[in-house]
């Protein structure tokens, strides 16, 4: 393994003039490649290198204005066959940066490159459709550039003159992109941004012939809140609650990759009890997220009762979560180096009660959904994704496992002690909407097993790391001596400085691979925080999945890929 990596980096160095540019604390091999060699390097890595780097995991940039100047574009590559990561960096000038498009290598690059243009103003050459993706068409400036204001109060008051308003609304007109010679039976249907089938602010411009879908163009960004930009003015610690709201249905599952990345950066070890509590809560939130998926998916298909059953069971789950964390959907419970509090009295019984009722509930869901002939008839063979296509599009999580690949980071790269738990990775081979549903239902059962094991083997001990450098002064002690009080005041008010470096951590979130890439400058704030969410590439894969099916299938496919708009737009 190490040998292969050595040869790979020497190969890259000799063939493509790459220079290693690893920073400490990061476990990802990083190489810098000259701009003109980028495309061929990436082609080499995808098709020829050993191991093949089949997946473009992430693609974004860092504005280096406050460091070396210019822009750094980074490509996060992932090899599923070799279970390896690689980061390729490219330096660009800050003025008029131009980057060659790699859409021909990975189709998934399309949206990421649009995001580059949108957020950093990087012009991507030969891109099929280089327009803004998250910000509205009329936005001025590129938000993730350092010179762009960080918050609305830094900007002049917003004006919207009548003429400008009309212009803006005009940009939302569903463009009629039928070919001039196309047959006249085609029509363009605008679905959303508010529509019962889109589960949030998502707009789909669909080209239809009769009810058959010719093409789908998703329009995203209505839920963009600038989560990455916000990180740049929060301290490492105070950013934790913001992560909860990225995939707002899976709460602490967002905190985990962020904190693991930060802990990796600073070299913090988490006490064992805290790790088990984290795993337990993460799996509970996986169940919670899958329950909401189940609810909305069955509602998409017109079944009226399962949504209420699923939400009912989620309430029982939230009772336990509330007891432990004090919060329901967004508990902000994890801390750098552990968790916020020890488990309260009665936690064991609360979770037991939930675990006890769930198996029968899942049987009921199966009877109402995956075993129901109408539901099977509607979703079997709909929206089929093959393994190669899925990897090419950057699809992960249950959607990837439904195509037949047992890729689960909890198994292949165990973190937080997942290697100690006995559970299986449910897979299916069909890769259609029904398979995705079956995999998710089975995942709930497996998560229940993990929770069961976690509560049986809950170790004793501390729940927060006491490494003095990165630990908050204990609140109890602040009332006893002035030293601790001062420390507490400083670390909470100002934040703690973290070593400079870069750190990526990927976890298996309910919806797929969730990666947080923390770039630190040695200050209290992240210099750049990149959030790679699973829903973003999933939504991009919608068009090829839905083309050729009927309008009703579009909703079934959309529901089966399980996305959250906040997770897409960030």
């Amino acid at each position: 393994m190490t040998d292969g990596k050595m040869t790979l980096s020497t190969q890259l160095e000799t063939r493509f003039n790459a220079t290693p540019c690893e920073l400490s604390h990061d476990r990802v091999k990083t190489l810098s490649v000259p701009l003109e060699r980028v495309t061929e390097t990436l082609e080499f890595l995808k098709y020829e290198a050993t191991p093949h780097f089949e997946m473009l995991f992430d693609l974004s940039a860092i504005d280096e204005t406050e460091r070396n100047g210019g822009l750094t574009v980074f490509y996060q590559l992932l090899s599923l066959s070799g279970n390896a990561d690689l980061r390729i960096k490219v330096n660009l000038p800050a003025k008029n940066p131009v980057l060659p498009s790699i859409c021909s290598v990975w189709r998934a690059a399309n949206w990421y490159e649009r995001e580059l243009y949108d957020m950093f103003g990087i012009h991507v050459d030969n891109h099929p459709n280089l327009v803004r993706i998250l910000m509205p068409e009329y936005w001025e400036g590129h938000p993730l550039r350092k010179e762009h204001p960080n918050r609305a109060t830094d900007m002049p008051p917003y004006q919207l003159p009548e003429a400008h308003y009309r212009e803006i609304m005009e940009s939302y007109r569903a463009e009629d992109y039928r070919e001039p010679m196309d047959d006249t039976e085609e029509l363009t249907l605008n679905i959303g941004p508010t529509h019962p089938g889109t589960h949030g602010l998502l707009r789909l411009v669909v080209r239809l012939k009769g009810e058959e879908i010719r093409d789908v163009r998703p329009d995203i960004g209505f839920h963009h809140r600038g989560a990455e930009k916000m990180a740049e003015r929060q301290t490492f610690h105070s950013y934790i609650p913001y992560t909860d709201r990225i995939d707002y249905l899976s709460g602490v599952q967002n905190e985990l990759p962020y904190l693991l990345a930060v802990e990796q950066l600073a070299g913090i070890t988490v006490p064992e009890r805290a790790q088990v509590i984290r795993v337990m809560l993460c799996e509970l939130f996986r169940i919670s997220s899958h329950l909401v998926w189940l609810a909305s998916y069955s509602h998409d298909l017109g079944a009226l009762a399962p949504p209420f059953y699923a939400f009912r069971d989620r309430e029982y789950l939230f009772d336990a979560v509330e007891l432990i964390t004090g919060g329901r959907m967004h508990p902000a419970f994890f801390r750098i180096g552990g968790v916020a509090m020890d488990l309260p009295e009665g936690w064991h019984e609360a979770i037991q009660a939930f675990l006890k009722r769930m198996p029968a509930a899942i049987d009921e869901y199966q009877a109402l959904l995956t075993h129901n002939p109408i539901m099977r008839g509607r979703t079997r063979g709909i929206g089929i994704l093959s393994v190669t296509e899925a990897i090419d599009w950057g699809v992960s999580g249950p959607n990837l496992r439904a195509c037949g690949l047992a890729w689960d980071l909890r198994k292949c790269r165990p973190y937080s002690g997942y290697e100690q738990y006995d559970f299986e990775i449910p897979t299916a081979i069909e890769g259609d909407s029904l398979a995705r549903a079956e995999v998710r239902l089975e995942e709930i059962r497996q998560s229940l097993r993990i929770v069961e094991q976690a509560i049986q083997n809950m170790p004793n001990g501390a729940v927060l790391s006491d490494q003095a450098r990165y630990a908050f002064a204990r609140k109890e002690a602040t009332l006893q001596d002035i030293e601790t009080l001062i420390h507490h005041f400083i670390t909470v008010g100002q934040g703690m400085t973290f070593p400079s470096g870069e750190s990526l951590f990927i976890t298996e979130a309910p919806k797929g691979m969730n990666g947080y890439f923390v770039v630190s400058n040695g200050t209290e704030h992240p210099y750049r925080l990149r959030i790679r969410t699973p829903s973003f590439p999933h939504m991009q894969a919608l068009a090829p999945l839905a083309t050729g099916h009927l309008l009703a299938d579009l909703i079934a496919i959309l529901g089966s890929i399980d996305y959250i708009l906040a997770d897409i737009d960030r």
């Binding site: 209420f308 109408i374 909703i555």
Partner: protein, 320 residues
């Protein structure tokens, strides 16, 4: 007819109208409460005792809303369409016998009259979808037209079995002929009629013209205020009609021991309405092509075979 007879007939009609409206309103309330019960929740329970005044509150709300016609809609047809649906459904009740001496009209082609009215009902939905001049209603309207045509045929054929057995198109004669309820003699006919009935009334799992998750609300997306209430009312009166018809045609209408005929009629109709509610909360929606598939490739042949078998057997039976 003299003036007094006219007045009596008119007041009878007004009474029926009032009763039907209140039944439809109570059905809306009943459905919401029953479905809520099946879904582990409470349903409307605030307006009046047990929330029984909820339909009245909803009605008042819809009536007092601004009468709005979208500027892009075809104004006249848009308004007329919303009236057609409840109108045709209400008119069908004229010939439904509630008890052995209790009906508004006994015409000798009652069954044909009802089938004709139910065919007219599709115009309401189709024209509503068309006149809205908007894409989602258009889809709903088209779907509804295709759906109704596909399900009208097997429904009509299933009813012919009943006609053969009773030898009459008059509903009163049909009920009188049911010493044994026709559901025993015509089980396949009953099932086909019920499936088609659900499809005719656009209820789950056949609610494709509405299909909330795909078409927002289908044919009535652009409708609001009282015009929406008409569509809504039409749907529930349609459900009541199908349940009442199934009772009259297959379940022996007013026949039954101990209780008076009207009570039996009510019990049977309510049981069928409950079945409608139950199906709605349990089943997902079919896809459009699957719906057509079931209609043409399964229900229609089954109805034809059923008709032929009934005809042949009936011939021997009556001759012998």
């Amino acid at each position: 007819m003299n003036l007094i007879q006219w007045l009596l007939t008119l007041s009878g009609l007004a009474l029926v109208l009032l009763v039907l409206f209140s039944i439809a309103a109570l059905m809306v309330y009943g459905e919401r409460r029953i479905i809520a019960l099946l879904q582990d929740r409470l349903g409307p329970n605030r307006a009046g005792p047990f929330g029984i005044l909820q339909p009245a509150a909803d009605f008042l709300k819809l009536v007092t809303k601004e009468h709005f016609v979208p500027p892009f809609a075809d104004r006249k047809i848009y308004i007329i369409a919303s009236i057609i649906v409840p109108f045709t459904a209400l008119l069908s009740f004229v010939v439904v016998p509630v008890s052995y001496n209790w009906w508004l009209a006994d015409i000798n082609i009652a069954l044909l009259f009802i089938m004709a009215l139910s065919s007219l009902r599709v115009y309401g939905i189709m024209l509503g979808g068309w006149a809205s001049n908007s894409k989602y209603p258009l889809f709903g309207g088209l779907r509804s037209a295709a759906q109704m045509i596909s399900y009208e045929l097997p429904m009509g054929l299933a009813l012919m079995g009943v006609v053969i057995l009773s030898g009459s198109f008059s509903l009163v004669d049909i009920v009188s002929a049911q010493e044994i309820p026709f559901i025993i003699l015509q089980p396949i006919g009953f099932i086909i009629f019920l499936i088609c009935g659900i499809a005719e009334t656009n209820r789950l799992p056949f609610d494709l013209p509405e299909a909330e998750n795909e078409l927002a609300s289908g044919y009535n997306t652009e409708y609001g205020d009282i015009k929406f209430a008409f569509f809504f009312l039409g749907e529930y009166i349609g459900v009541l009609l199908i349940a009442a018809l199934a009772t009259v045609l297959f379940l022996g209408g007013w026949h039954g021991p101990w209780f008076p005929g009207a009570v039996w009629f009510t019990i049977k109709t309510l049981a069928l309405i409950f079945l409608f509610f139950w199906l709605r909360t349990s089943l997902p929606r079919l896809r459009y092509d699957q719906l057509m598939h079931i209609g043409w490739k399964f229900l229609l042949p089954a109805a034809l075979v059923n008709l032929m078998v009934t005809a042949v057997l009936g011939l021997f039976w009556m001759e012998g």
